[in-house]
């Protein structure tokens, strides 16, 4: 059957695996977006720029203080997460009462500012960042040669995604967050500091983006435009998965990575657009997304 499709099973499995690897980035980024939208009702357009800042932070750490990849995985999300907290405190806070499209416009503006500043300093061509020594090389799987680093990316993102899902859906902290979104005044009346929870949640979503950025640094170019190239696709993933659904964005992220990978085999020119086709179809049939609840 495979021969009819013009491709051998080995090649197909190889592409599926690659698709899964790309899907891990989509999953992590859309997870951060879904957390922020689901719990805060903010459409965080700055997400792509924050992903880029994570990658640059890793590069800075290596260039100027010799701290390597493993340190960056820890430090970059914290640093970028803090900038997220500052943005939320200074700017986003004022927009909660308004139509949530204003939040989108503001975060879009901030994304432009951040990208412009980095582009001004570094130009658009990328900075190099080495794959850490421990993860060099790869395994010959028979149907393809799998670089160790890429396997690590899948593992890391699955772990992070599942951990986030667990915290939000299964722990007390998570239940406070979810309650605070549904009925902030009531939860505040119970003595929980709702504004602080909101700030922390935004910071956490941003930190997820930065973590994805550090993971991306060794394999994609660390360039100011890396975020804006990706953000539109990630939005599509979130919308398809269901804008508030954590599980939805994880599953959809990996799933769409695989679909994109398959498209690259059969019709590579369309690989950038297949996600939008899927989004259009899903929106027309099930507007709240595959896993979403109508708001």
């Amino acid at each position: 059957m495979f021969e009819l499709l013009g491709i051998s099973p080995q090649a197909l499995f190889g592409q599926l695996l690659i698709g899964l690897i790309n899907g891990s980035f989509y999953a992590m980024l859309s997870l951060g977006l879904a957390v922020i939208f689901g719990l805060l009702n903010i459409i965080n357009f700055t997400h792509g720029a924050q992903y880029m800042m994570g990658a640059f932070c890793a590069w800075f750490l290596l260039e100027y203080s010799g701290l390597g990849y493993w340190w960056a995985l820890l430090v970059a999300p914290i640093v970028v997460g803090l900038t997220g907290v500052i943005i939320e405190r200074l700017f986003l806070k004022h927009l909660y009462k308004l139509d949530h499209l204003y939040g989108l416009l503001l975060t879009f503006g901030i994304a432009l500012i951040v990208e412009g500043l980095f582009r001004n300093k570094f130009g658009s061509s990328g900075q190099p960042y080495r794959i850490p020594g421990e993860l060099l090389g790869g395994q010959n799987l028979g149907f393809m040669f799998l670089p160790n680093y890429r396997a690590w990316v899948v593992v890391a993102s699955v772990v992070v995604c599942l951990a986030t899902w667990y915290v939000i859906e299964r722990t007390k902290l998570g239940s406070y967050l979810r309650a605070a979104t549904e009925n902030p005044s009531l939860v505040q009346a119970f003595g929980i500091n709702v504004p602080r929870m909101i700030t922390i949640t935004y910071g956490f979503g941003v930190a997820l983006a930065a973590f994805a950025g550090v993971l991306a640094a060794p394999i994609y170019q660390v360039s100011p435009q890396m975020g804006s190239n990706l953000i539109i696709v990630v939005f599509a993933v979130v919308v398809i998965g269901g804008m508030g659904s954590i599980l939805g964005s994880i599953v959809t992220g990996f799933g769409l990575g695989v679909i994109e990978g398959l498209t690259k085999v059969f019709y590579p020119e369309a690989s950038n657009t297949v996600i939008f086709v899927v989004m259009g179809i899903v929106l027309l049939i099930k507007p709240a997304g595959l896993f979403g609840r109508a708001h």
Partner: protein, 322 residues
């Protein structure tokens, strides 16, 4: 006037006032004299974008529908017009007409699909559709991909007026812009426009009053798409080029920027916004990335403290809607 800070995107407008008529005369006078003080190509670019922004404003400011895919109308009309003028050899007025008609048809199809949803979902559907149009333009042979359609002839309008002369072309473009602008103006201040505003303010109530809101929204969408297409097709003749920039999502973002800066839901806002943004881009073009930074700052400042936009604030000072 409803205060913008209570969460609504825009203010409702009152019927045509004397102040608006004065503003129109002022604008007309400035535009008539402009080519003698500024570079005509720059002015024509600003006029095309002003028309694009006005068309966009009709949808977002008066019907309350924020579309993220408006570039697809401008871009597709631009390509069709360029192709019609260059390959089919149509005279400029027919080429522009062809482009506009195609944009209208596209507006009908995409509008029918998108209108079914509201708010952010509507915006996302328009974005998805726009990206698909972008992909089509990227792949289709006739668009020339990254090269675009180049060497589009300016031609002779009605077989008589040579559009090769920049000054002549400027006045032709001005006429086109005024036509579009007045069309929007009439629409806003007509019973149809009033129904649109009612739908924007409170759709369930409008439905309960017996209005088929879906039809009204679709008509507004198609009108907006048509005029955006007119802007795009005219631009293709002016620059003698149709390229992917016109159909890509940052272009949709630009028109949001212009309308926001000028003032959502004001009549003259998009015109002012378009001129300011185009002027800024020309002025800052030397400085590369600073254009992006300034655009971002404008977005941020407008959303945080300047929500009525330039014309909106000006109008508020005069206590009139402009």
């Amino acid at each position: 006037m409803v205060d913008v800070t209570n969460g609504r995107l825009v203010d409702p407008a009152t019927p045509a006032t004397r102040h608006q008529q004065i503003a129109f005369v002022v604008m007309l006078a400035c535009l008539l004299g402009a080519p003698f003080v500024a570079y005509p190509i720059f002015l024509m670019k600003a006029l095309c974008f002003a028309l694009f922004a006005c068309a966009f404003n009709l949808l977002v400011g008066y019907a309350g529908l924020l579309s993220f895919g408006h570039a697809m109308f401008m871009g597709s009309a631009s390509y069709i017009c360029a192709h019609a003028a260059k390959v089919w050899g149509l005279p400029p007025e027919l080429a522009v007409l062809t482009g506009t008609v195609v944009a209208a048809a596209l507006g009908l199809v995409t509008g029918a699909l998108a209108i079914r949803r509201q708010g952010i979902y509507f915006a996302m559907i328009t974005l998805a559709l726009a990206q698909m149009i972008y992909f089509f333009c990227l792949q289709a042979k006739f668009t020339g991909g990254e090269d675009g359609i180049q060497k589009v002839p300016r031609g002779h309008l009605f077989g008589m007026i040579d559009l090769g002369n920049d000054l002549t072309l400027y006045y032709v473009v001005l006429v086109v812009f005024l036509f579009g602008f007045l069309a929007i103006y009439r629409t806003i201040h007509s019973p149809f426009g009033q129904v649109l505003k009612a739908i924007r303010e409170n759709e369930p109530r409008a439905i309960s009053l017996g209005y088929k809101t879906e039809h009204y929204k679709l008509i507004a969408f198609v009108l907006s798409a048509t005029l955006a297409g007119l802007a795009g097709a005219t631009k293709a003749i002016v620059f003698q080029l149709a390229s992917l920039t016109d159909v890509n999502w940052p272009m949709s973002g630009e028109v949001v920027l212009m309308t926001l800066l000028g003032g959502l839901g004001t009549v003259f806002g998009p015109v002012a916004g378009a001129f300011i943004v185009i002027a800024l881009e020309s002025y800052l073009a030397q400085l590369g990335a600073w254009v992006t930074i300034v655009q971002g700052l404008i977005f941020a400042v407008c959303v945080l403290t300047f929500r009525r936009g330039v014309i909106g604030e000006f109008g508020r000072m005069l206590k009139r809607t402009l």
